[in-house]
Symmetry: C2
Subunit: 159 residues, 2 copies
């Protein structure tokens, strides 16, 4: 439905929270005390982020998670990719997988390539959006997203 999953939203909430406490270690319990989220599910999400290398886990008492890189370097694209996988936007890509998983229309599909262009643009937007730019009231960098996107569009021509 062209919508972020709850898992992705939870990941973003956790990460934005962690930006405010950059350098510190944040546990799932802390997050759940602050936001009314299902603890176990949030834990799964943090695990995924850890697997993707976006956060670093610290096990044991006093443990938790901390950002694996400065908030400027963590992009929305990387976050979405970690939780939902790289957005496909179409179903063509299933072709590369199981044999009969491919789209029947593929050979005569008139929209494959055009849609791919749109997909690239969206993905580019996500990649150009840093985690820090998602933190409310950064005071500076309010227009970072737009600026970066514009640069990105200027260079990478859509095919």
């Amino acid at each position: 439905m062209l919508q972020f999953t709850k898992r992705t939203e939870y990941a973003l909430i956790a990460l934005v929270h962690m930006v405010d406490r950059e350098g510190e270690v944040t546990s799932v319990r802390e997050l759940c005390e602050r936001y009314p989220l299902p603890k176990r599910l949030l834990a799964e999400v943090l695990k995924d982020l850890s697997h993707a290398g976006l956060v670093v886990s610290h096990r044991g008492a006093q443990g938790g998670y901390s950002l694996a890189a400065p908030a400027e370097r963590l992009t929305l694209g990387a976050i979405i990719g970690a939780i939902e996988g790289v957005p496909t936007l179409t179903n063509c890509d299933a072709l590369a997988l199981s044999r009969d998983g491919g789209c029947e229309v593929h050979p005569v599909c008139p929209i494959r390539s055009p849609i791919e262009r749109v997909r690239e643009n969206i993905w580019r937007l996500f990649e150009a959006t840093s985690l820090r730019s998602l933190v409310p009231d950064p005071r500076a960098g309010r227009t970072e997203v737009i600026q970066r996107l514009r640069e990105s569009l200027a260079t990478g021509a859509p095919h």
Copy 2:
């Protein structure tokens, strides 16, 4: 999963096909002879497009559908909106609906506003993408999407 539904893809295929035959009337049968799509489902999709005013229906024998406007005026945004509804990207919007449908996190959600900005950008991209620009080999206007988006970004600042 941040992906178009099959219905939307089918709509795009039908519309792109109709651009090639602008001015003519295209029936669901014709479309199904050309592309291996489930006829009944495609019919439902065309109905939706008709309801949204993107195509004009012609009932009875020799009937079918024709574009309701030049392909330049039909935007990807309008098409998606017609089939899937306006993309919400988050679930906040459910608040406006049933009473207990609202998100629990809403009052303390730190990502609502930032995500909204992202949503605006994506939506803007869709609005800036005309149906004609989705037709393969338009010869001209290959970069129309990028051009329009750039203009759009230059004027409408993201809030």
